[in-house]
């Protein structure tokens, strides 16, 4: 049953050094406030899972939180590279990180299989691609009915998943709306979960088949208004495309990055850590 905690308390309690962590949100609802809190608390040796690392993991990798990254598309959307990710992979700064990469289809299926309690996901995937040559977690099985060769990947079962959503009701039930990505799957697949929300309301006030994550499958709910900025929250505030563009020069330079981190993460507190 979801417990209402401060974000600092939730991160302190459930994100251990060395843990496997998924901060999800497909372009929309990226939990930046939680990522910044992880940086502030100097968590280390994390295995970071995310389909699109985006700026949030660029920042966490640059800040030295990551040991390994599992992902399927690692760019700054519409802008270019994630320079902190590249600096870590290409030049080992601040330290070398291990990467394991998939396609989106495989990652999405692996989250789905994790939510479904299965050890693996089966997909018609990776045909002709070199990715199985560099990722030993991609295997193939034969369909016992048709003989067709199908790809198999292990399901994703993070130690903790963190997502951002529009709102929780007073019981801790959470409404996710708009581009819902793999957030629900990330929460259901994880041992523990933290959901940050824009606001806490009396009633969720949504349709009969809305994407609601019930309180009894969530570990902690933390109020974090603006917690997805510079990403966005459908119905609350738009994406700061400007920040995504501005990030390019900041992230290209180690000193500029460190200065940004000091100003916008270390020298702020949880609730106004959103950077845009």
């Amino acid at each position: 049953m979801a417990e209402f905690l401060s974000l600092a308390e939730a991160v302190d309690r459930y994100v251990a050094d060395g843990a496997t962590v998924a901060l999800e949100g497909f372009t929309h609802l990226i939990p930046f406030a939680a990522g910044h809190e992880i940086i502030r608390q100097k968590k280390r040796d994390l295995t970071l899972i995310r389909m699109t690392p985006d700026l949030i993991y660029d920042q966490m990798i640059g800040a030295g939180c990551a040991k390994k990254l599992i992902f399927s598309w690692g760019g700054n959307p519409g802008v270019g590279s994630l320079h902190r990710l590249r600096d870590a992979v290409e030049k080992g700064w601040p330290h070398q990180i291990e990467i394991l990469e998939h396609s989106h289809a495989a990652m999405a299926n692996a989250f789905e299989a994790g939510a479904a309690g299965l050890p693996l996901a089966i997909l018609r995937g990776y045909i002709g691609s070199d990715l199985p040559k560099v990722n030993d977690q991609i295997k193939f099985i034969d369909c016992p009915f048709t003989g067709e060769k199908l790809a198999a990947v292990p399901s994703i079962r993070p130690d903790v998943s963190i997502v951002h959503a529009q709102k929780a009701d007073k019981h801790g039930n959470v409404l996710v709306e708009g581009i819902i990505g793999v957030q629900k799957e990330a929460v259901l697949a994880a041992k523990h979960s933290i959901v940050t929300v824009e606001e806490i309301v009396d009633e969720l006030d949504c349709g009969p088949n809305a994407c609601v994550i019930p309180a009894w499958v969530i570990t902690a709910v933390a109020k974090a208004p603006g917690g997805a900025k510079p990403s966005y929250t459908h119905g609350y505030y738009p994406r700061s495309n400007k920040f995504y563009k501005d990030w390019d020069p900041i992230s290209r330079d180690r000193d500029a990055f460190n200065a940004w981190l000091d100003e916008h993460v270390f020298n702020t507190t949880a609730d106004n850590g959103a950077s845009a």
């Binding site: 497909f26 372009t27 929309h28 389909m51 699109t52 992902f71 399927s72 598309w73 690692g74 760019g75 959307p77 519409g78 802008v79 590279s81 994630l82 990710l85 590249r86 992979v89 290409e90 990469e101 998939h102 396609s103 989106h104 289809a105 999405a108 299926n109 989250f111 789905e112 997909l123 018609r124 995937g125 990776y126 045909i127 002709g128 691609s129 070199d130 990715l131 560099v134 048709t146 067709e148 708009g178 581009i179 819902i180 990505g181 793999v182 629900k184 799957e185 994407c211 966005y232 459908h234 738009p238 994406r239 700061s240 495309n241 400007k242 995504y244 563009k245």
Partner: protein, 257 residues
């Protein structure tokens, strides 16, 4: 080259014309998104645009910067989860055309968006596969659009992120439940199509004012020309107007927020 339009506009308009009204199209960000939306705003009003963020039948007024801009969801018929997108819509065979870009393409239309150099010690690390690897095999066919240069059009890609026809043109042979793969590549210079037999990319139409020498100069392999190379039709005024307005709206929108 015309004074009336740029090479880049020529490319986008040609790419947009590849789409047929009523087709369902999975849209990659960037040039594919520009071309697909131009098609929707001109000759193909009922083209169904799908972005991997889960937005089905979206009609954005401005081009998205990211694959999951709010605009895509707000103007969509409905938005599904990302697992559903890849399971029911892509793998489920509901998409006629996958419209992709790439960092590097080779003679057999294989795409590399993973890295330049060696995997364990990359010279340049690129973003990775994203939705493309399964798009290339699960959709009916694939259109690819990117600017042409020796750097991007290489004899053999360093890494096959997304299969075209494989290292020797035979990667799709005998594979069950696989789409036709890349049926055309649209650049700022020409249109290429796979040779029906060898699957090697072959120039089938040159944009107005572009010479064979221009294409050869911008290609990293000994590029073949079809027996009957035609001249690509020019953009008409309406297409150019709609495209420019779309880009103006887009730039204004993204500068503001």
């Amino acid at each position: 080259m015309s004074e009336r339009y740029s090479a880049s506009e020529m490319m986008t308009v040609t790419a947009s014309r590849a789409l047929t009204n009523g087709q369902s199209c999975f849209v990659g960000i960037g040039l594919p998104s520009e071309a697909a939306n131009l098609a929707r705003l001109t000759h193909a009003p009922d083209v169904v645009l799908i972005y991997e963020s889960g937005t089905l039948e979206t009609k954005p007024d401005v081009l998205p910067l990211s694959i999951g801009d709010g605009e895509l969801c707000e103007t969509a018929l409905t938005t599904v989860s990302v697992p559903e997108m890849f399971r029911y819509w892509v793998q489920g065979g509901k998409i006629d055309v996958g419209f992709l870009g790439a960092a590097q393409i080779d003679k057999y239309a294989n795409l590399n968006t993973t890295l330049i150099g060696d995997y364990t010690d990359p010279k340049v690390r690129l973003p990775g596969g994203g939705g493309a690897p399964e798009m290339a095999t699960a959709t009916g066919e694939i259109f690819i659009t990117l600017k042409q240069s020796k750097r991007t059009f290489v004899e053999a890609v360093d890494f096959v992120t997304t299969v075209g026809f494989g290292r020797d043109g035979t990667a799709r042979d005998g594979v069950p439940n696989i789409g036709k793969g890349p049926t055309r590549v649209i650049t700022d210079l020409c249109v290429m199509q796979p040779d029906p037999t060898t699957k090697e990319l072959t120039v089938t139409s040159l944009h107005p004012g572009v010479t064979r020498a221009d294409v050869i100069e911008a290609t990293g392999w000994d590029i073949a020309f079809a027996d009957d190379v035609s001249e690509t039709a020019e953009p008409d005024d309406q297409e150019l107007t709609v495209l420019r307005e779309l880009k103006t709206r887009t730039e204004k929108h993204h500068a503001e927020s």
